[in-house]
């Protein structure tokens, strides 16, 4: 199947996903007890005002018509309006998204820079102590409640040692550099503000470590499995027979090949980190999408929650699609097989 065919099929699936996700959020919105018009109007509104809002939102129309209206809105970039303050959800998310993405990317960097060496070590010394150790780290990682780990590192590095800040993105007394990319690290460098960069960096360490730790083991296990597969290949045996050192075989021959299947895992990890940030952000008062959605949940602001669900689901599917395409572009074998 050609590259274009795969892309076409995946895009059709994307439309299906959009329909499915919106159907889910639409159904959920209608399951919620209570009258949305009444919630928007507030407790003291007159019945006329409530009726007007209901009419504006089309809540008195048949369900299929409401759904069609909802999907049309999303296609045009209208993901709903939060209740209080009445703002387009997409606008809000656009403000919060860069903070979450910055955190997720740095967390991915943490997970990769520690996970890849650990994975290599456990493949090279398979079934030895280091391998068991990595296995324990991996299992502990996926079993750790991130919100709890976050509290512990705050207790240690902020409470006891006083080395790092406990939350936020930047020192509150500091002027925030002008928003260009939305990534504070990049923006402060672009503005030539090294004090702001240092502060933003310090604020990133604890949340990024907390979030990255959960995925570190997943990355390590993936690299281990992929590298073990490669080390069993004929070319490795040939290289050994030719007297090439184990070190060179691992790092210049096998590892680059083993990294190809690992791209998928890294891509998926980025998607997981994006929504996994929900809990980490809450603990560290990180002003991203996660904190936004948790606040919305607590304020019973359902349009905001549903808007978040649709946006993140779409982002997740798009990341997966991008990863698959990169994977196909890098590895010609996949193209031929699929």
């Amino acid at each position: 199947m050609s590259f274009l065919n795969v892309v076409r099929r995946r895009l059709i699936f994307l439309v299906l996903v959009l329909l499915g996700v919106t159907l889910i959020t639409f159904t959920i919105s209608h399951l919620i007890p209570g009258d949305p018009a009444r919630m928007i109007a507030g407790d003291r509104a007159t019945p006329e005002i409530v009726a007007k809002i209901r009419d504006d939102l089309g809540l008195d129309r048949p369900l299929y018509e409401q759904y069609a209206r909802y999907v049309t809105g999303i296609v045009q970039g209208d993901f709903g309006t939060s209740i209080r303050p009445r703002r387009p959800v997409l606008e809000d998310l656009r403000i919060f998204f860069p903070a979450t993405l910055e955190l997720a990317l740095v967390a991915l960097l943490v997970a990769t820079s520690l996970g890849v060496p650990l994975g290599v070590a456990s493949a090279v010394w398979k079934n030895k102590l280091i391998d068991q150790f990595v296995r324990v780290i991996a299992v502990t990682g996926i079993s750790t409640p991130a919100f709890w780990l976050g509290l512990l590192v705050i207790l240690l590095f902020y409470g006891q040692l006083g080395l790092l800040p406990s939350g936020g993105r930047i020192d509150p007394s500091m002027d925030v550099p002008a928003t260009i990319t939305g990534f504070l690290l990049v923006d402060s460098l672009l503005a030539g503000r090294f004090d702001a960069f240092a502060s933003a960096f310090k604020h990133l360490i604890l949340p990024a470590f907390t979030l990255g730790f959960v995925h570190l083991g997943v990355v390590a296990r993936q690299v281990r499995a992929a590298l073990l597969d490669e080390l069993q290949q004929d070319y490795v045996r040939t290289a050994r027979a030719n007297g090439i050192s184990s070190f060179r075989i691992v790092f210049t021959e096998a590892l680059p090949n083993a990294m190809i299947p690992s791209i998928t895992v890294l891509g998926l990890a980025l998607g997981d980190l994006l929504y996994g940030a929900v809990l980490t952000e809450t603990v560290f008062a990180w002003p991203g999408m996660g904190a936004y959605v948790v606040n919305s949940i607590q304020a019973l602001d359902f349009p905001a929650v549903m808007g978040f669900t649709v946006v993140v689901s779409l982002a997740y599917v798009l990341i997966n699609l991008a990863v698959d395409l990169i994977y196909m572009a890098v590895d010609p074998r996949i193209r031929e097989v699929s």
């Binding site: 996903v17 998607g271 809990l279």
Partner: protein, 293 residues
């Protein structure tokens, strides 16, 4: 339903328990996992025997006391004994875990096996629907569902179970497609056995191994997820003792009364780790292909 088909094979799950036990005893990590699970289950189920205090007894004079011989894990902001509350809180967390895997595993396995057995358009329709749900990050879907259902531990459990169903459907269907090509299924079909009979006596017993592994891993994940929901206020509500909710309240005291959040969170970590170690090892045993790597 033919009598011959029923009597020809003794029925039950086709899993060799003695072989599994032999393998468990040889794997140190699995031994650790299963021992911790056993200890946690005993402590939690017989909480009234092991608790030193009434988990809800308020004693304002002893509020926020550090760990001591009287209060192993200290006390909370109204002087309740944290050790006893963690034991009772485990009942909530573990009950949610079992509720979710039984509900999601049961419905998902039946639906998946059915879908794989009937095939055709119905199968395609079911699987596309599952693909759509699976392509959405589960935490996000769980959040949305739990928020809509309203904050309570029961609703959180229900939300997690609903979101987990597609995982079992896909797993069970995949296994069913393999099993239905087996000679004994073809034989049963030759004798015009009803679909329901084939499903019950030939398919389900033979697809159970991977599903069992999945349920074990899911127990750990569910306990984690449910506690996370409680942490952000969507799960157990005060004054119920529940691990995630205890970490959440303890958060307000983290800098001075570290024990409040630390011990309940550690209970989550230990329990989830134990189930994951056990499930990981079980997968190696039941799927020798993976182990060969």
């Amino acid at each position: 339903m033919s009598d011959a088909a029923q009597t020809s094979k003794p029925r039950g799950l086709n899993i060799n328990w003695r072989y599994i036990w032999y393998q468990i005893s040889r794997s140190p990590l699995m031994m650790i996992g299963s021992s911790i699970i056993a200890i946690v289950l005993i402590l939690v189920i017989f909480a009234p025997l092991f608790a030193t205090h009434d988990p809800n007894a308020i004693s304002l004079r002893e509020r926020l006391a550090p760990p001591s011989w009287d209060h192993f894990f200290g006390t909370d902001e109204v002087g309740r004994d944290l050790y006893s509350r963690i034991l009772y809180g485990g009942q909530q967390s573990i009950a949610v875990g079992f509720f979710v895997v039984v509900l999601a595993g049961g419905i998902g396995t039946l639906l998946g096996a059915f879908s794989g057995l009937v095939g055709g358009r119905l199968d395609t329709a079911i699987m596309r629907l599952m693909d759509v749900v699976l392509s959405v990050p589960s935490l996000v879907l769980v959040l949305a569902l739990a928020a809509a259902l309203g904050p309570s531990l029961q609703n959180a459990a229900l939300a997690i179970a609903i979101v987990r169903i597609p995982f079992y459907v896909r797993l069970a269907r995949g296994q069913t497609l393999l099993v239905r090509e087996m000679a004994y299924v073809t034989a049963a079909e030759t004798f015009h056995a009803k679909k329901r009979h084939i499903l019950r006596w030939h398919i389900l017993p033979n697809i159970m191994s991977p599903i069992l592994v999945q349920t074990t891993l899911d127990l750990g994940n569910t306990i984690l997820l449910a506690s996370a929901l409680s942490f952000i206020g969507l799960g157990a509500q005060q004054p119920t003792a529940e691990w995630g909710a205890m970490v959440a309240t303890g958060r307000n005291y983290i800098l001075d009364q570290w024990w409040y959040s630390a011990f309940p969170g550690f209970a989550i970590l230990i329990t989830a780790t134990a189930f994951n170690l056990f499930g990981d090892g079980l997968r190696d045993i039941l799927d020798p292909k993976q182990k060969a790597r």
